[in-house]
Symmetry: C3
Subunit: 303 residues, 3 copies
């Protein structure tokens, strides 16, 4: 517990700027736009690099619950309002607040959110333009359909490179989509993947040329929105029964994640990553996550 | 039950021409040709658009049972004799007859057929040239190997677009082959897919240039036919144990399908689809299934 | 049992040269090279065609156990020292010795080896240059990551073409990676597959141009080797829980394999394959396995 507190304090110090940015926001990081009676767009904005903060999770969960009660809604498109980023990783400076977030039955709010998403009586579509990293990628894996900009989408699960366990569902979802070896490569390389490889691996549904992405997503959404809601939802339920990980697995991943906050490998890496963030600047590090994760670990090894 | 009867009556009226075509056929829609002592070809013909009728299911089941008893048979090739179509969807006008079809132990005959196919002591190969839609695609998913003409094969599961549940096994088979998101996309888009995307998704084993398809299939069949039958069958059984859905899942899908016959979304769509079939003509609708499913639902939404 | 002995005697006679080559080797077929404190290379050499012999399995198992105890080791690269071959099939002339190999708890030593590999607290990477056949391919399926030379890697599971059951784990691993149909095609065609198709099927993690393969593997290994060992191992364990076949399945495959040694289809094929090996020469047959398996079975059918 002391180690956990030390880790969190270090994160909080190192990632001060991002956290302050997030905290000072008056408005929610999540906003909704009703495109038609059947289609809603859920937009995420937490500039400059779209870190997920506790408010994001709480607002997303409330939004998903609200939209689930709306009998007219058939499709929900998830997109980003911040250039260069889709959903990015959790704001590490806010860990104490993430850990405190629990749902109605005491489960981690994150688990409640991804469960609500996977069971929602609408089709969720991710329109992925920009970097999708860490918890942001794990959220993306909980959406129903994933369409990625061929030129602008980049995927990275950096946790292992930081000394953490990727506990938001990627160890449960990825092997079911990509097979054992590719899931392992993604998670232990902590490196950047472009949309073409993500498509080949089955990590995303399709890679779409960027100038066609918006049209592709709207055409798909509009088509589905004319179909019968009962038919859509029943098919989703039946496919979930075969292919969605049981909630117990996702819960177990959360426990592994919380354990990993006390791993010595994390404490070792925080000062090195912190110095790098200071020297290089957080914007540049975020935009080249795969490279800088590698550099930081190389420096650590030389010591 | 009254709703089911109404739906069936409407279908029967709307698809009159197709049904009459089917009913008036003196000969079976299924014929067999023994190519060699080890290889049999099972040919399907129910022009003009190769709708599956109850006789098709009954004859296929008898054929599979017969061939399963023949100790010389190692490979069975399934092909179509009708240009432009492989196995198409069920003839909706014949629903009352489909529902009545039960096997020896009271199970739906359809479930008996796909179970018999998956357990058959021979290798079934689909040579897919033309449209493969609805129940026809679900039959295709029960074959062992699927080779699709790159230029001429088209796949579509239109059920959701009609307001029905795709209950012939696609919700069980597709997620195991393509992953959750792609299976969901296929079933809820009710749209046309070409052979290249079907191959990329893992929906078919391979897409083969049309002018090489026959040779490719015969070369594969002839090679396998020289191997030891016990070896072939044991491998098939062991792979089934890992990757074939349990029969209880396929049975459950049938129940969901029968429930879906009473969905209000179906009753709403039947008159619109019926008018379209009348206005455009059934041949044109069948050949452009994805497009017309979309158009009919758009019209419905405008009302 | 008499049939098994006959089969073994025939194999022993036919594959005399290979067996003698293997037996006469003074040094082990497995050698290790410590590249860095964190990375070890395990090299296989059993020229001329890299057949796996009992000593290979025993040495690999000891090596894996030793490296698993070394807390510094994070990555183990498996490669071949023999041009044209990665791990090839078992030396059939040594079957009596394979069957005798059991582990500490009486399990077949092969099952102990692949279990030890899958659970090892390091990441195993296969650098695949050359033919990977039969048991050699099944060993490759037990490694964590598989990188194949686009030009030089060739895969073949010839067992069914010989009249044997492929009992080293391929029926358990392949359907989980490639889907039911593609796994079946691979195993019942007993044919050669190049790296591009293997990549498309999900049989290997990536196909890499040959002149980039060594660099690609070393870059991946070096990167992973800077990460925290606990993080790497925990991710591997969690992914195994979702995607690695239970040991009972692998054990069952071994039982099926041992049964298959008594199949009449095997006894029928041994003299034909033996004559071909004599007439064509074993080196040429090994290098064109898919073709000669086909030719031998064609000759048998003509009789």
């Amino acid at each position: 517990m002391k180690k956990l507190k030390t880790a969190i304090t270090l994160f909080a110090a190192l990632l001060f700027i991002n956290s302050v940015d997030a905290q000072s926001q008056a408005k929610s990081t999540i906003s909704t736009e009703r495109l038609t009676p059947e289609i809603c767009k859920v937009k995420f904005a937490n500039g400059p690099v779209n870190l997920i903060i506790p408010e994001t999770i709480a607002s997303l969960n409330e939004t998903v619950k609200e939209l689930s009660k709306d009998e007219h809604i058939k499709v929900v498109i998830f997109s980003s309002e911040v250039s260069g980023y889709f959903y990015n990783h959790f704001d590490l400076g806010q860990f104490p607040n993430f850990v405190k977030q629990t749902g109605a039955d005491g489960k981690p709010l994150w688990v409640e959110l991804v469960t609500n998403l996977s069971k929602a009586p609408f089709i969720s579509i991710a329109s992925i333009r920009g970097r999708t990293q860490g918890g942001g990628d794990e959220l993306t894996l909980a959406f129903d359909l994933r369409y990625a900009s061929k030129e602008l989408a980049v995927f990275n699960q950096p946790e292992v490179g930081v000394g953490l366990f990727p506990g938001g569902g990627s160890t449960n979802q990825l092997p079911r989509l990509t097979g054992r070896d590719r899931a392992l490569e993604i998670l232990i390389s902590a490196d950047d993947y472009n949309a073409d490889i993500a498509e080949r691996y089955g990590w995303v549904t399709r890679a779409v040329p960027d100038d066609q992405l918006d049209k592709f997503v709207m055409t798909m959404a509009s088509r589905i929105a004319t179909f019968d809601k009962t038919a859509l939802v029943t098919v989703k339920q039946q496919i979930n029964a075969v292919a969605y990980p049981p909630e117990s697995e996702i819960l177990n991943s959360q426990i592994e994640f919380q354990k990993s906050l006390a791993w010595p490998g994390l404490s070792l890496r925080i000062p090195v990553l912190g110095k790098m963030l200071n020297d290089v600047g957080p914007l540049k590090v975020e935009k080249n996550m795969g490279y800088y994760i590698g550099e930081a670990n190389k420096q650590l090894q030389k010591k």
